[in-house]
Symmetry: C2
Subunit: 211 residues, 2 copies
DNA sequence: CAATAATTAAACTTACAGTTTAATTATATA
DNA sequence: TATATAATTAAACTGTAAGTTTAATTATTG
């Protein structure tokens, strides 16, 4: 008798996720069917459901991967730079890069990060996603605290609400700039990045010491 | 011979939209089918498609109606109050009220306002929605300009990018607070409104003169 | 009452998520 | 190398929802 081995489960999952990623990037998540993914990955639809619970699980893994990259962006902002302003600029650029690379996931992450994940029964990837969200929060916290210590950021900041509101302000203008790039160009003659640089300066102004 | 009159088209449209509104509020837009709407409105599904192109048109009208209310909120903020701070507080409260009353539309409006609507062929309600978006922008502009004149807001604000970035920051923190109300409560012991008040003070700080 | 406008039920199409079944293909090992 | 078994598959199926078609019914008014 003989059992079959060939490739481990993880390889098939990777093949499928990778094909799905390319299709999601090109056509969006909703416009990509499980049949499309199966065809592109070179499996039958039946096999897809051997390796994944459902479409949501595939999306969840891609969201997780994208979150890891965002976490890396932010980590390197803090490692590579010393001054508060340089760190801030790098974080902002990382967020813009993230939005541009993963527009569909950016939106989802805005909704998903930091929901209470103790109470409900989430998939392991979802829990991991939330944990990375927590790590990002922790890094933003360290950035704000060190800026306050250095005297660059207002010493009266209430750190906990400041973290999330900081994130909310930045993600708000980035999402808006992405949605309305055309309008911004037409109505004020600004490129998306010029517009955002102005927005980033406003946000910095909200947390920085005067002068 | 005889033609039938009974009720004008607008009455039927109103009946249908009104039934749809109640269902959307209760169960959300995606979870409400056209059959559900037909049943609740007391028409057959066939008749729904006599009075409306598709589900999107019904949603579009409700988004428009909700936008009108938001415009009213903001208008009355500017009429009822004189000082920059009082106006600001009232605008913020209006936005929160709007998000809470129409959570599904708030999200859509964030995406829809101010896209270039000259180029594509939109439905009349969509065009009207965009025009109300423009009116809201105009009011925010007046608010910012009068605040600058009074010396309450920074005189170096670049008005055009400031308007949209202001809107982006506020909508960003409001959407975030709505998504993560539970998390905010658990992790920092703050009510949504207390958290948002802190965020609003940050945003105000970004545009206000020092002092 | 007759002509016609409004409305309807019901069956239909299309698309997609997800499932079931029975058959096929590959492979380790005796 | 034969074969038990693991992996994979095609194809048909269910369920749901948007939107369409058709033929019949109901209401109105002259």
């Amino acid at each position: 008798m003989g059992r079959r081995k060939k490739e481990p489960r993880s390889v098939h999952r990777e093949n499928i996720v990778s094909a799905a990623s390319a299709l999601f990037m090109k056509r969006g998540i909703a416009a990509t069917s499980m049949d499309d993914i199966a065809k592109a990955a070179g499996y039958s639809k039946t096999t897809l459901y051997v390796y994944f619970e459902n479409k949501e699980e595939i999306v969840g893994i891609l969201v997780l991967n994208s979150m890891k990259k965002l976490d890396d962006y932010i980590s390197s902002a803090l490692i590579q730079h010393e001054t508060t302003k340089a760190r801030y600029d790098f974080i902002c650029r990382g967020l813009v890069q993230y939005q541009e690379e993963f527009p569909f996931y950016f939106k989802m992450v805005l909704d998903k990060i930091n929901i209470d994940f103790e109470s409900k029964n989430y998939l392991p990837e979802e829990k991991e996603t939330y944990q990375i969200g927590e790590e990002i929060n922790e890094k933003i916290k360290n950035f704000l605290l060190s800026g306050m210590e250095k005297g660059d950021l207002r010493s009266d900041l209430e750190i906990m609400p400041a973290i999330l509101n900081f994130w909310g302000m930045l993600s708000g203008i980035i999402q808006l700039a992405a949605n309305k790039e055309e309008y911004i160009k037409k109505s004020m003659g600004l490129s998306k990045i010029k517009f955002l640089e102005y927005g980033f300066s406003l946000v910095y102004h909200s947390i920085a010491t005067k002068g």
